[in-house]
Amino acid sequence: MAYFEIEQQDEIAVIWLDQPDSKVNTLSARMLGEFESLLDKLEQDDSIHGAVLISRKADTFIAGADIEAFTRMKSSEEARALSEQGNALLLRLQRLNKPVVAAIHGAALGGGLEVALACHYRIASTGDKTVLGLPEIKLGLLPGGGGTTRLPRQIGLVKALDLLLTGKNIYPRPARRAGLVDELIHPPGLLQAAVAAAREGRRSKPARLPLWQRVLTATPAGRHLLLAQARKTVLKKTGGHYPAPLKILEVLQTGLDEGLEAGLKAEGRAFAELHASDAHRYLVRLFLAMQARKHNPLKVSFQPVEKLGMLGAGFMGTGIAEVSIEKGMQVVLRDLDHARLAAGLKRLWQDLGRKVKRRIISDFRRDELLSRVHPTVEVQDLRHCDMVIEAVFEDLDIKRKVVAELEAALPEKAWIASNTSSLPIADIAAASRRPEQIIGMHYFSPVPKMPLLEIIITEQTAPEVQAAAIDVGIRQGKTPVVVRDGPGFYTTRILAAYMNEALELLAEGVPVDALDRAMKAWGFPVGPVALMDEVGIDVGAHIGRGKLTELFAARGIEGRDTLQKMEAQGLLGRKNGKGFYLYPKRGRKRPNPALQRFFPEANSNPDQSDWQWRLAAVMVNEAIYCLQEGILQSAEDGDVAAILGLGFPPFRGGPFAWVDHIGAAMLLQRIQGFEQRFGARFRPADLLVEMAEKQQRFHPQ
């Protein structure tokens, strides 16, 4: 057997999982095939009284299913067959009259955890790498290997809902508390403990639940109430765009009402249906695109960054520092005065404090991490840095001055990244003595949460600087997307077009909250107006005064100056509690009545779908301009960046996938209709016209 190796310790069979030619173990049809013969042996060999399932890989038990294999499955019948085959095997495993102990060290995710759930007893190592979870929902699927049905039986419906509907990871100690695993031990003792448990014939018991949960989930009526409540929350959160969570709720109900086998059957059916859904297809594509970007595509040799200089200890600077120190980099954090540094350090300390509170890291570990941050007011202290990221005020003259100052202080080989969100990098590099060592690294706020890093290269940027920047991004856990230089690069540029159109709609009298609701219903996590408040009206106004406006003006687009006017009135957005909305200290935000000064009260455009189409079309059209102009290197880059950076609805696959989905000709027709109504704002990109004419797609079918 290629995947398993059996080592018999007296009457206990230790089954080592070791997928050939792979760093991790994954579940696949081939693996299941071997698993079947393994079960035969366990059933028939009388010298075996029990078994231990353990991995030979350094940091994984079983990382889950082979996602790429999913994409190769042609029909939903195939998906259903896979689920049913897996479930039949795991049912055999569960019903084996010899105890099988799962010895979990490293990742036990998706199918990996489902295998463990079918075992009779679970021991997890307390190692840093041990993590459990059923993340299928993140790919628009449900756990189809018995996870949906077995999880509530093991840990109770309430906790199961939490894990299934979020797909979140759970770490050894909380997993033990939840009853997901029965025992914990340090990694070196795992095998010995598992063998002993198998020898003693230990069997897991379902978690002891608090009384209220036992009462609530004991009867079908109680469970239905709980599931109905969950359904309401799901619909509210997803706008009904994602079928997976709803299917999960259905399968849970079947499994609990009609028994294990009925549940497993329902799992197979639901798995097949979800596998055929668009949401699943796009989410997998996004996942694979993100995975692909975790490898540096450039083969040039470069100096990996060990010490990173960070200019500016604001929200951005400390966010970048945080993701850097967590990945072992040293950070010299420079700002102009100690008060700002202290505020930055406090933010870092509090951010890590959340992990301390949740016992993900210890108090000491936080100190150790923070010891990697060297706060300073002296630019000279950056002299040992391999590179510096500047996050100073968005002003070309200031940035140029900063670059000159840095170049004087830094060693020759050190490169400089600007974390500007809109200023062309070439303009900043114009002041540099070493323009080939200047690059753009556009992070998104809040940095620890936002997965995108937009890397901007100029004509002059050296390949080794680009490679090193990509490497920094990957190590910081970001998904880097490399774009070419230009006003607003890619993300800020298409966002600006979208925001401008939102202002036009407001000028037609569309109420702010109605507009936000419409775009949330379309699938954005935040509406455009609320987003402007989050970003800051002043920031938007500042961008509106820059080169991006010139770019649009050259195409005959006149931007509205509403943001500048609002800024002048002191309406800055979320940061000072008043923008398009008012943000009271307590209670929910509400539309700012002061907006009457800027927008008509009567709504001349009540057609919500018109708003949605216009906003989507203007953003997507601008994205196509970016591809056409070579700002984007590929449509996939454009999709990944829009989803990860701007919250473009993931179930639509990104701007380009969406064009493919609705058809270039159909979109063009819409846009041309808008062009007739509104003029240059909707002048279609030549590339779109061409694609429509030739009936082409951005992505292969």
């Binding site: 040293q330 100690h338 406090k346 300390w349 000491f364 100190d367 010891s371 990697r372 202290d381 040992h384």
Partner: protein, 427 residues
Amino acid sequence: MSNRKVVLVDGVRTPFCRISSEYADLRSYDLARLALKGLKEKLALDENPPDQVIMGTVISNVATSNVARDAMLGAGFAVSTPAYTVTQACISSNRAITNACDQIMTGHAETVVAGGVEVMSDTPIGFSKAFRKRLMALPKAKGPADLLKIFKGFRLSELKPQQPAVAEFSTGLTMGEDADQLAAEFGISREEQDAYAMRSHQLAAQAWAEGRLAEQVLTISPPPHFRVLAEDNTFRADTSMEKLAGLKPVFVKPHGTVTAGNASPLTDGASAVALMSAGQAQRKGYRPLARIVDYVYTGQNPRGELLLGPAYAIPRLLARQKLTLSDIDVFELHEAFAGQVLANLAALQSRKFAQERLGLDQPVGEIPLEKLNTGGGSLSLGHPFGATGARLVTTAAHRLHQEDGQFALVAACAAGGLGSAILIERI
């Protein structure tokens, strides 16, 4: 001493703060960590890691009994660097520094970080011995009968928290009582003590105002409040003879002379210095401040001579180096009490003391006030027990440059009747 010269590259300390003020939320581990991290950053010691870290402390916390190790790890020093903690009362970091010197001179190390810490705000307060005895017996108890036996004769008074006193173990006297007694023995009046204390506060204020201390003191913003601290909060620029005269004696009532105004305050603080072999400093491109030339430690009778350490240690060190007091340009004496400093100065000038206690014909001599503690001392800057020694050494080295001198002498007394003196030469 051996021909491997030891140099002081530089030193830093946290601002010193009165007990239960800025550092009320911290443990010694935290403050030691901040001092070590600050030194590492100032001297880029991540590029040139030390071979050892040695920290002095007096009141140790059981959780971090080897605070040097825990703090250096928390400060991001390499795990491969060994670290240990020394304790020798108020001269603990003096001992850390001289141990470092020995290690470098004998070739066991090229670079050593030495320092000390005291967070008196975090003094462990325990149960009485009687109650602790009962607690320790608890795990062995089997059944209610044993429990009854363990708590037989229990009195509520056993629960009274036991705060460690600053008292001499062998004599039972508090240090303030000893200082009061010593001042009387050498005829130091209350006014003289108050005047010396006022001088200390004024000089400290002046040194801060003139920027002479800033380069030795880190600007830190410690958790959980992250207030920016750049200056000691221990000295009082506005003190006056009237104010000092108004204070009542604290240790010997009602007619003693030692008051809160002429004694060093209970203080939190941490300090650290980087020592290297001269060769290492040169190879790594450092420009050291000074060379550590020699040192001595002495022991006196804790009964009566408790605080006379400097008067014993200074002449012995001068004799070893064949120097006299007049060869010394900079004096840094630890100021436990104004009366103690003045008594030591008097002892050094006393023929009787020289003859009877030191076995010398002539008095050792006079330490001119203009060379003594010109930027304040422990009375005004505070005295975190374990951290004071490294402060004195760093300040002495800086003063050699500021005051253009060649030799500096650091001396201190310590509980147990101990004395320390360290000789430093400007590079």
